[in-house]
């Protein structure tokens, strides 16, 4: 998916004197980002090791409970990603904080969120087959989650529609605000409607009780933290890729302007 290609207006429009757009430096590599990647990798490795080999089987679900350490973290990260996209879009629409960097952040986060939502559905389906006896059912939670994926795929498609950076950023920001409406619907669907899916296990919003304890709770917590780090690493790289694409677009425009000037100056 390569739909995050917005660029600042100043960089796309020629200067006041008709010259080439000002050059923006390419995003530098950073040791912090590499450290983040290593931490995320270590965290995921520890989660997998603990989840598969150390934690005990559940009294009712047996070994299938091991999917608990990857499935809810996928869902949590997708919510987080869409939340970041929502806030960045809100920031873009607010005149005081309007910058195309926020639009780039919104698009990057949404794209990473789509990956995590797809993995939420895949892991949920794999878990559902032995537990419910079916890969898929039109349960409220599953249906609203599938809808979430489709809506954000639409959002990414909208970002790919050619337009000026400002127009694209504005309509994408509005679309992101609308798309986010489905996030609380997904979360509360198990409480609002009769659902095959179990209610929140980590922290029940109605009773404020947790149903996971001991090594299972710690492993689950590690899963949440590790996959959040993975999200941060993916987001940073997706953002950098978008910045590089903007930079390339600037260069392409500058080259086209130079060529046109050379043609005009030629005898």
């Amino acid at each position: 998916m390569s739909t995050v290609t917005t660029r600042p207006a100043r960089a796309t429009a020629p200067g006041a004197d008709g010259g080439a757009p000002p050059r923006r430096p390419a995003p530098p590599r950073s040791r912090g980002l590499r450290l983040l990647g290593v931490s995320a990798l270590a965290g995921v490795a520890a989660t997998v090791a603990l989840g598969l080999f150390v934690t005990p089987p559940d009294e009712f679900m047996g070994n299938l409970v091991r999917l608990l350490y990857v499935h809810p973290p996928m869902a949590w990260v997708s919510f987080l990603a869409y939340g970041v996209s929502f806030l960045a879009s809100l920031g873009y629409l607010w005149r005081r904080t309007r910058t195309l960097a926020l639009d780039r952040l919104a698009g990057s986060s949404a794209e990473v969120g789509v990956v995590f939502t797809a993995l939420t559905l895949v892991t949920g389906s794999i878990w559902g087959r032995p537990t419910w006896g079916t890969w898929w059912t039109w349960d409220p939670l599953l249906t609203t989650t599938a809808l979430l994926l489709v809506v954000y795929l639409g959002y990414l498609a909208l970002r790919a529609v050619p337009a000026t950076p400002e127009v694209r950023a504005r309509r994408a920001a509005i679309a992101a605000l609308v798309a986010f409406v489905d996030v609380p619907v997904v979360y509360f669907s198990v409480l609002w409607w009769r659902s095959l899916h179990q209610a929140p296990t980590v922290l029940d919003p109605t009773t404020h009780r947790t149903y996971v304890h001991g090594s299972m709770a710690w492993t689950l917590l590690l899963g949440f933290v590790s996959f959040t780090l993975v999200y941060a690493w993916l987001l940073a790289h997706r953002y950098r890729l978008a910045a590089l694409a903007d930079r390339q677009a600037d260069e392409g425009l500058a080259a086209a302007l130079a060529e046109r000037r050379a043609e005009a100056g030629a005898p």
Partner: protein
């Protein structure tokens, strides 16, 4: 353990790994396409890597 558990973990690891690798590859490709003025910067980045 049933094959479902392994399949679930594999889906996550392969999915995230593929997406992360594609981002790194595309970022590297994008850096290569930058004009020669940035050669010093890219060389530094290559040394860093």
């Amino acid at each position: 353990m049933s094959g479902y558990i392994e399949a679930g973990y594999l889906a996550v690891l392969v999915g995230l790994g593929s997406y992360g690798s594609s981002l790194l590859w595309r970022e590297r490709l994008a850096r290569r396409r930058l004009p020669p003025e940035d050669a010093g910067e890219r060389q530094a980045a290559g040394e860093d890597r």
